[in-house]
Subunit: 319 residues, 2 copies
């Protein structure tokens, strides 16, 4: 297999794009693709302050790398969830995040959940027991809350996450299997800050296959944590990914078509605007000030109240 | 495993309903379920004239059987497509349809495509060559056309098809993979006769799993053609069914939830009414008089014109 551009030996063959490229042309192609998404979906500009949610995995570190190479002003934020699970997961992830920041002279904010809230995510989950033996729902809630609060308080224009096409297709598939109307109308490359206190969010890798991002990290020599979160095993989203992987293997390009035709259909007015119930009036949480749908504490502060731990944002340790 | 109702040995265990039943209670349950769908979706009444599209397979013959047992006035229509494919497919299917009609003293209309249009479906497809080596698109077009025309001309109130839940979930899945907006807004248990010349259509088995219908036909002792159409092999709809079968095996009830949550979301106003472009003005085809979206011949008559064969409906052989 030869590179389409220079006829050198190809490093990657992308069947869904009918495109084989050598290392250098692939890395160049990834940059161009991501830049194209940033512009197409009006995600942000070179003048804006960008915050990237860093997990220490291939997607978020590759995204940060791409943004820096494209000349964007992008800081990182790492939330230390305190997940050990016998494999020292959070500590190792943090090492990869720090190491990337150091070698790129980039700024990484680190929020330590235990230091700020007195307990790690597994401890919080164990205590508040949100009806599931796994801490995933508590973890998702905490991450969304902390990221949103940090982005707003530190006046970043946009918060970026490393969700790739495989992630987005799996989320869409899950939303479609149960026809979650209010999620369907909001899922997309950009979540606008359409309510007071809500940070603007974007996903510049939404059109990049997971395999492409793994190849990018590998070919760029970016060290990253290769393990999945130990709690992710057996999750519904991984199960949906496996079904879509089968579809993609049999019909190359199916995931991309699924996601892009969804965006197009929504743009063409498939969904009734009235369905976006979330855009109704929001209330500031009396504890943290973040927007919440009903008067009173937000879901995150309610959870903390259960565990008897309500620190203010000023206690957040930044390193 | 014991029958939930009478504690006899169960004949079927339906994991998705967490329900095991003996032969008699299962057959009673199927009747009640179908009657429930007929009423819930306002499909038809005991006073109306009903036409059932009969293929000779388990679903259409079981549907006919159920309707007769529920006391509905239901005739059948069989379209002889002239598919041989080395297995005498159409002739055998017709035998099963005739045999059911005879043993139930029911009326079966038979339309012979070759007698009316001069060519079998495979011959028509071969000649008009609609860009595919398989006759499936020509066959679907011809069946829709003939059924619709026959239903209207003979003043039936509604045309029923034997689509079961597995069929409906697979169609929905296909529509969702490519986000076919105009199909999504119209797919459902009932297709209203909302344009002049369009027959009302309904699918009373839309909530019944394929496996349930196979069990019904078996336990009722209904002989039916067990082969799939020889041209169906490798079709996209069968492929989608296999993916959904995997999902159902891992998550019992997933197909039903997928389909019912779709209907609920649509009822709740998820889709914008403006998307149903098909409800725009229609024109009567100058040849057959059936509704078509653009002035001039309808798609079916255009296809026939290509093959130089344009019989009028009065030539239709009825037996």
């Amino acid at each position: 297999m030869r590179c389409r551009k220079c006829d050198q030996k190809a490093s990657i063959n992308m069947r869904h794009h009918k495109l084989a490229l050598c290392r250098d042309h692939f890395l160049e192609w990834v940059l161009a693709q991501v830049e194209r998404s940033i512009k197409k979906y009006h995600m942000f500009t070179h003048q804006q302050r960008i915050l990237v949610a860093i997990s220490g995995g291939k997607d978020s570190l590759s995204l940060w790398d791409i943004l820096l190479r494209l000349g964007y002003s992008a800081d990182g934020i790492y939330i230390n969830l305190g997940i050990d699970a016998g494999v020292d997961y959070s500590a190792k992830s943090l090492d990869f995040a720090r190491s990337f920041a150091d070698s790129n002279q980039a700024r990484l904010h680190v929020i330590d959940v235990k230091a700020v809230y007195g307990e790690t995510i597994p401890e919080l989950a164990m205590r508040t027991n949100r009806g599931h033996y796994k801490p995933c729902s508590v973890c998702g809630l905490a991450k969304r809350h902390i990221m949103n609060q940090f982005t707003s308080l530190h006046h970043y224009d946009v918060l970026l996450t490393g969700h790739n096409l495989d992630d987005e297709a799996a989320i869409l598939f899950g939303n479609v299997l149960h026809w979650m109307g209010s999620y369907l109308v909001r899922q997309g490359p950009v979540l606008e800050a359409d309510r007071p206190g809500l940070a603007r969010k974007a996903k510049p890798l939404c059109r990049m296959y997971e395999r492409e991002m793994a190849a990018y990290a590998f070919l760029r020599g970016i060290p990253y944590i290769q393990d999945e979160c130990p709690f992710a095993e057996g999750s519904t989203s991984i199960y949906h990914k496996q079904l879509l992987d089968k579809l993609e293997a049999d019909r190359p390009g199916a995931k991309l078509d699924f996601y892009l035709s969804f965006l197009q259909a929504r743009k063409d007015g498939l969904f009734s605007p009235a369905i976006d119930h979330q855009s109704d009036i929001v209330h500031p949480c009396p504890e943290c000030g973040q927007p919440t749908s009903a008067p009173g504490l937000c879901t995150f502060c309610r959870m903390l109240a259960k565990s008897g731990n309500l620190p203010s944002i000023n206690e957040m340790d930044l390193t």
